[in-house]
């Protein structure tokens, strides 16, 4: 029965955490699509799980949402989407949420889903497991749902997608992201600063010619700015900080342009992982070296 959790063939699970949502998934599930509030996980055999979430203003009824969801589908699928009570183990794992289960089928593929509402953070989440053939047991679902979290009360929020792992202060909100082969970038902003996390690979090829200093000159060009001062300059770590413009006129210009006045960045080579990681913080008030250090310490790859 699907209520009985089984271990994945490899017995391995990994954490996926993105924009407030966190869960454990079997290690062979990969992110196939990613959006600001959307994750689509798949294996070589096909789609496995889709998650969408969003804030709710006012009252929220999972049942009414399910009806809206059904109404938004094509006519054929609409008939094959029906409410279904959650298996006991699932319901137990999700007891802290208001929830409703559903089943759907479209051609050879079907799925089982849940609409969740967290009264604490006022966020609604749609999770749907894909099944082909329909009604195949979902051995991983109970453990996965038990690990599902849609908010944190801690000061640091975990981000874990692809091979990136980081914990950053919750006040940093996601502004933009890029996941391209060889280059990942996450940009965040808070009320006082902008934070950018970058990751390049493969480092052995990128650093082959001119090392980390050459890479920095070619791709980031921090050092070409006259106001940048090197705080650390070694073969595997570079740290730069922007000094405050000297003249009063320059400072005024900076304030009027509403550009960040201060900037601090670190670039380092993870030789054992063959990656290059970069963190940049910009703001209109001085950036403490300890702030950059704590973000860099929590940022890495697996």
């Amino acid at each position: 029965m699907e209520n009985q959790p089984k271990k994945s063939p490899s017995h391995q699970w990994r954490e996926v955490a993105w924009n407030g949502v966190r869960l454990d998934v079997p290690a062979n599930w990969e992110i196939g699509e990613i959006g600001r509030r959307h994750l689509f996980l798949e294996t070589v055999d096909g789609p496995q799980l889709e998650i969408k979430w969003g804030p709710v203003k006012g009252r929220f009824s999972p049942r009414a949402q399910l009806k809206r969801l059904a109404a938004s589908q094509r006519r054929k699928l609409r008939k094959d989407l029906r409410e279904e009570s959650l298996p006991t183990a699932w319901a137990r794992s999700l007891s802290r949420y208001e929830s409703i289960g559903f089943l759907w089928r479209s051609g050879t593929i079907g799925g089982r889903g849940i609409v969740l509402y967290c009264p604490h953070c006022r966020q609604a989440t749609l999770l749907q497991f894909y099944q082909a053939p329909f009604n195949r047991p979902l051995p991983y679902a109970t453990r996965l749902l038990a690990s599902f979290v849609d908010h944190t009360d801690r000061p640091l929020l975990t981000w874990a997608v692809f091979d990136i792992r980081t914990k950053i202060p919750v006040e940093y909100l996601l502004k933009a992201f890029r996941f391209e082969a060889g280059f990942y970038e996450l940009a965040f902003s808070s009320r006082t600063a902008m934070l950018t996390l970058q990751r390049w690979s493969p480092a052995d090829v990128l650093l082959r010619e001119d090392g980390l200093a050459g890479f920095e000159r070619k791709f980031l060009a921090y050092s070409t700015k006259r106001s940048m001062i090197f705080k650390t300059r070694s073969s595997d770590t570079l740290e730069v900080a922007d000094s405050l413009p000297k003249g009063i006129l320059q400072r005024l210009k900076g304030r009027l342009r509403r550009q960040p006045l201060y900037s601090r960045a670190r670039l380092w080579h993870e030789a054992d992982k063959n990656r290059i990681l970069g963190v940049q913080i910009e703001g209109r008030s001085p950036i403490e070296s300890q702030h950059l250090h704590s973000i860099c310490t929590n940022y890495g790859t697996i």
């Binding site: 990969e30 070589v44 096909g46 949402q65 938004s72 060889g182 493969p202 063959n274």
Partner: protein
């Protein structure tokens, strides 16, 4: 409006089947190695009749077949050298990922994109 927006998904070819294909190089390609170790590929391309006619009118080469060149970078050269006519796409990805300690998925995206580009230029076919 509910909190969940619909996501449009384009149905592509089956991923597993695509990974089981074997890339075959076009036998009309000439390879030359540059000092940097990178490869320069030269391959014939048949121009469209109207384009050949335009070249002729402008006093250029009237031949319909022109030789195009493509210089591969370090990673492109590595992947090209893995294409021996027997190795499946899946194995090319695995070897490429292992050589650079890349996550399998990232290597898959990079290699399949590269193979797609080569295929578009007629430099490889898939068996």
């Amino acid at each position: 409006m509910g909190p969940f927006k619909r996501t449009k998904r384009i149905q592509g070819p089956d991923r597993s089947e695509a990974l089981d294909c074997t890339p075959i190089k076009n036998d009309q390609i000439e390879e030359s190695r540059l000092e940097s170790g990178e490869l320069l590929l030269s391959y014939p391309m048949i121009t469209r009749p109207w384009l050949a006619s335009l070249f002729r009118r402008l006093g250029g080469n009237s031949e319909r077949t022109v030789v195009k060149k493509l210089q591969l970078d370090t990673l492109g050269t590595e992947v090209w050298e893995l294409l021996d006519g027997d190795t499946r796409v899946r194995d090319v990805i695995r070897r490429f990922a292992a050589a650079h300690r890349l996550p399998q998925r990232e290597a898959e995206v990079a290699v399949t994109r590269f193979l797609w580009d080569l295929g578009k230029r007629g430099l490889i076919g898939l068996r």
